[in-house]
């Protein structure tokens, strides 16, 4: 069935179809309509979930942790400052190995109060142990939310998963989305069985004191899961492709085969970059695109081209563009552009300009250092 709706409503629909037992969320612009739509589903009886209204995002994540710790499937949604308020509990969810699924609508961080797209909110959570997906279309939002449950709940992984997408550019834009039948989703997602849970009949303590050596092992176990996740994400993406006709991997490679230059970016910028690649190809340029689907785990193995142009909608002050800074650059020519922060519009024409700059050996802050 084709549904035409906004990114937020599509995220809510996907969450509904994954049938979480517990939803705890706090509204924040531009995520609000995700929460409103889910509350409506619960109110109307379409979704049989416990909807917990909380007083903050920190509490939203804590409520999800509590629910997940008794073995429930959970969902929440947030954005920007809300995500930052959750920060402590993001670590907790991941170290407790609870496969909570959350959508984060990317929005700039204040001050200057700004509600538009900027990936710094979620990219700053990179070390919390959450798997992170970035979507470039509403279809990808839907597909990523469904796959997130299967990936996070896989017993080789057991990590929480965040699905990120641009505020307003996707969250409030209606697009056609192919939505499978409920039975097909039920068939795709296995019933979640947690490997540990708080149970009054079999009491355990969670979050107890852990001496140094076992703590080191806990952290290493998380790293092993994150590495394993690369394999599981591709397995699940392939199975999703077989069932629903849209296959996914860690990255999407677009016209890269004979490319002299490859653009590396993610989120809505990658959709613009695809158009830029087509237009530049029409003019005889050999250029391709690697669209990162996951930022954590980071798909280094796909970024092996000699000349790459990295476009970041986020930066680490004192270092540079975040994706750019994480690239392995030995023996490669890599150009980094920081562009579109705080929702500055970046379209395919801007990306074509970045390509022209890179060819001349120039990069930097697009719109300030290079215009």
């Amino acid at each position: 069935m084709i549904v035409v709706d906004t990114g937020n409503h599509i995220a809510a629909l996907a969450a509904k179809m994954a049938k979480p037992h517990v939803i705890a969320a706090y509204p924040i612009t531009p995520q609000t309509t995700v929460v409103e739509r889910l509350a409506q589903y619960v109110e109307s009886g379409e979704l049989n979930s416990e909807f917990i209204r909380v007083e903050s995002e920190h509490s939203a994540m804590t409520a999800c942790i509590g629910a997940a710790a008794v073995g429930a499937r959970t969902f929440t949604a947030t954005s920007s400052h809300g995500l930052l308020l959750m920060h402590e509990m993001l670590h907790w969810a991941a170290l407790a190995r609870l496969p909570i699924v959350m959508v984060n609508v990317n929005r700039a961080i204040g001050p200057g109060w700004n509600i538009w797209s900027d990936l710094n909110d979620s990219m700053a959570q990179r070390d919390t142990g959450w798997i992170q997906f970035y979507a470039s279309s509403n279809q990808e939002i839907f597909d990523n939310v469904i796959q997130a449950y299967k990936i996070g709940e896989d017993e080789r992984i057991r990590l929480p998963v965040m699905i990120c997408y641009d505020g307003f550019i996707l969250s409030h834009t209606s697009m056609p989305v192919e939505v499978p039948k409920q039975e097909e989703i039920d068939d795709f997602l296995n019933e979640y069985k947690s490997t540990w849970q708080l149970d009054i009949n079999n009491p355990i303590t969670h979050g107890n004191i852990v001496p140094p050596e076992p703590y080191l092992e806990i952290r290493y176990s998380m790293e092993k899961a994150m590495k394993e996740a690369k394999k599981v994400i591709e397995e699940v993406g392939e199975e999703f492709g077989r069932k629903f006709g849209r296959e996914y991997r860690l990255v999407e490679e677009y016209r890269c085969d004979d490319a002299d230059y490859v653009i590396v970016t993610m989120s809505a910028l990658a959709a613009e970059a695809k158009i830029a690649v087509d237009r530049l190809r029409d003019k005889g340029n050999r250029i391709g695109l690697i669209k990162l689907r996951t930022y954590r785990p980071f798909p280094h193995e796909y970024l092996k081209y000699d000349k790459m142009i990295v476009i970041d909608r986020a930066f680490s002050p004192g270092l540079g563009g975040i994706i750019y800074s994480e690239m392995e650059m030995d023996g490669k020519e890599v150009y980094g552009f920081i562009a579109g922060l705080g929702g500055v519009d970046i379209n395919y024409k801007d990306i074509e300009k970045m390509y022209e700059y890179a060819k001349k050996g120039k990069d930097g802050w697009y719109g300030i250092e290079v215009k």
Binding site: A96, W196, G207, E217
Partner: protein, 83 residues
């Protein structure tokens, strides 16, 4: 379970012999003890059990002194541990 996380199953000595943490040791004077069992009720480590009189398990008693504080007849004295 494949994932490692911080879970502890309640068992005796899950954190080792916590008696080694002790600086002050509770000593019971049976002549003053009226067997009201307040020390048994209040011991946070279940290190006091009920015999004819309270029995203190020095393997796990951390020497917190709550029993001595709660004792209505001052039958428990905290004495510096000889090392």
């Amino acid at each position: 379970m494949i994932e490692k996380t911080a879970i502890s199953i309640p068992t005796e000595g899950a954190m080792g012999k916590t008696g080694t943490w002790r600086v002050f040791k509770p000593i019971l004077n049976k002549e003053k003890c009226v067997r009201c069992w307040r020390c048994w009720v209040f011991c946070p480590d279940l290190a006091i059990s009920r015999g004819d009189y309270p029995v203190i398990d020095y393997e796990y008693c951390k020497g917190c002194g709550i029993c001595a504080n709660e004792c209505p007849t001052n039958a428990i004295k905290m004495e510096r541990e000889e090392k």
